[in-house]
């Protein structure tokens, strides 16, 4: 009996230690990013590489974020404007994405209309088209329409979120028809049924979807890089990539830029991780 207990104890210790060390290793780059961003300039370029700042300093953030006068000309890295651009674009993409895809997902699941099944099959087929194929003609079309270098130009392609429609449809299929039919018998209009009966039931997955859409927009890189040429319109990833290609040597400064780009979404993810992870798990695991 004692032997069995010991084997079980040993296994508990080994498996937990293993998980903890993998989690620790996974966190090292993120923690290191934060600590280096607070190091005085040049401190990270030493051997052995320091993990902790000798003195916590805000100078990298100051240099990165504050506009200052150099030789009579204003200079800044345009990170603050990029932060606001990213925030505005991601919020708009999220709100518009939800407005477009949640009703559509509901309609594909519960409303009868001619051509529904055929449209659904077409949507699933369209999933295999990589967005990069559409980018070049889209760039030329946007150039004609004056959408190049505009926020609308950045946001529009992301609104064709087929996966979001299918995701909502999958959840709506689980709502019993009787609930909707009962409301119909009571004389409620279709829009009213959607808003006051279906939408409250969809709240959890709407939050999940909102996080998905926000992160996708915030982290998007290739399309904003293509469509934005004016530095004042850059989103954070585009601005950070531009600085990284010029200031590759300034470790502490680049880490501060990485912190500004990643920490907002990491916090958002932590706050809403319950929704995000459960959305991925499809509700199959509790806790």
């Amino acid at each position: 009996m004692a032997v069995i207990m010991n084997r079980r104890l040993l296994r508990t210790i080994v498996s937990n230690a293993l998980v903890a060390s993998i989690a620790g290793l996974t966190l090292v780059p993120l923690v290191w990013m934060v600590t280096v961003s607070f190091m005085p300039r040049g401190e990270s370029s030493h051997f052995p590489p320091p993990f902790w700042p000798s003195r916590w300093s805000w100078e990298n953030y100051h240099e990165l974020l504050v506009r200052r006068l150099i030789d009579g000309a204003w200079f800044d890295y345009r990170i603050m404007p990029a932060l606001w651009n990213s925030l505005g674009i991601a919020l708009a993409a999220t709100v518009l994405g939800l407005l477009l895809t949640v009703p559509a997902g509901y309609a594909f699941a519960k409303l009868r209309f001619t051509g529904r099944e055929r449209l659904l099959r077409l949507l699933i087929a369209a999933l295999v088209v990589p967005t990069q194929v559409a980018m070049l003609p889209l760039f030329l079309a946007f150039k004609e329409l004056g959408l190049v270098n505009s926020y609308a130009g950045v946001i529009l392609p992301g609104l064709a979120a087929i996966f979001a429609i299918l995701f909502v449809r999958q959840t709506v299929l689980g709502i019993p028809d009787e609930m909707i039919d009962a409301a119909r018998l009571d004389g409620a209009g279709e829009v009213r049924i959607f808003v006051s009966i279906v939408l409250p039931l969809l709240m959890p997955i709407t939050v999940t979807l909102a996080v998905f859409l926000f992160l996708a927009s915030w982290n998007d890189f290739l399309w904003p890089l293509i469509v934005l040429s004016d530095q004042h319109r850059y989103t954070l990833p585009v601005a950070v990539a531009a600085i990284a290609r010029e200031h590759a040597g300034d470790g502490e400064l680049m880490m501060a830029a990485a912190v500004v780009t990643t920490v907002p979404v990491l916090l958002l993810f932590l706050a809403l991780q319950r929704y995000y992870v459960s959305g991925l798990l499809g509700g199959s695991i509790k806790g």
Partner: protein
Amino acid sequence: MTRQERAAWLFVAPVLAIILLVLVLPALLALALAVTDYSIYALADLSALRFIGLGNFTDLFGTPLFWRALGNTALFALFGVPMAIGSSLAAALLLDEATVRWKPLWRVVLFAPYVTSVVAAAVVWQFLLNTRFGLLNYGLGLIGIGPVDWLGNPRASIPAILIFVTWKIFGYNMIVFSAALSAVPHDLMEAARLDGASRWERFRHVTLPAIGPTLLLAAVMSVAGFVQLFAEPYVMTMGGPSQSTVTVLYFMFDEGFKWWNLGQASAVALILFAIILLLTVVQTRIGRRYEWL
């Protein structure tokens, strides 16, 4: 048209219109663009545009850098997919152990890199992979492995980027696999245990068939993901050293938006599409043969 039908169109029409305008139509136009010599001259004056048939494709097949990009992308996918799927599965299996505590916490921690921006994370890893002052070489030095010039040596650059990408994305499939593992039939597992099946036999004959479809779907998505690598080489190596990390998409971006050869770039995009489609079909066939689907 019934009331229900009217409401349905009200709900689906806006998003369908956007999908048509920003995805379907441009994708069809890409076919047209690929058979023209659309370049910086046509950008200035459309009358300079000529139809050149398959000229862009024959040009590409005669361009060494295009072949190099195809080869590099193949290497990324060939090693990256097993690396990413393997680490996701290993992490999911470990988290599935009954003895592991605080599972929700570990799940969030292991998933965290996935939500970071590729660009910002690539910047961080550029410094982690630094030959002299990087943490990775420091760690390797502690166990007696000499400094590797990760991003400066053409033979190390692909492994370096793969280590970064695996770190960044393994959490996603780990969660997906966790969901699949929780659906593995319990009584079947017990029966196998009572029959004296070893740990490996149980994994091979009970777990693997149960998660097969999920595994296949993850493989299909990962292949598509690795074939579309762009931001990592763009930020970390600019395609170098000696073009060892130029990927198909990197090549397309340079061709299209650095040299403004949009016709040529469109041909590259279509070839990329064809490759993804082909790989998806092949993988689905293999999946069917082993009755995973």
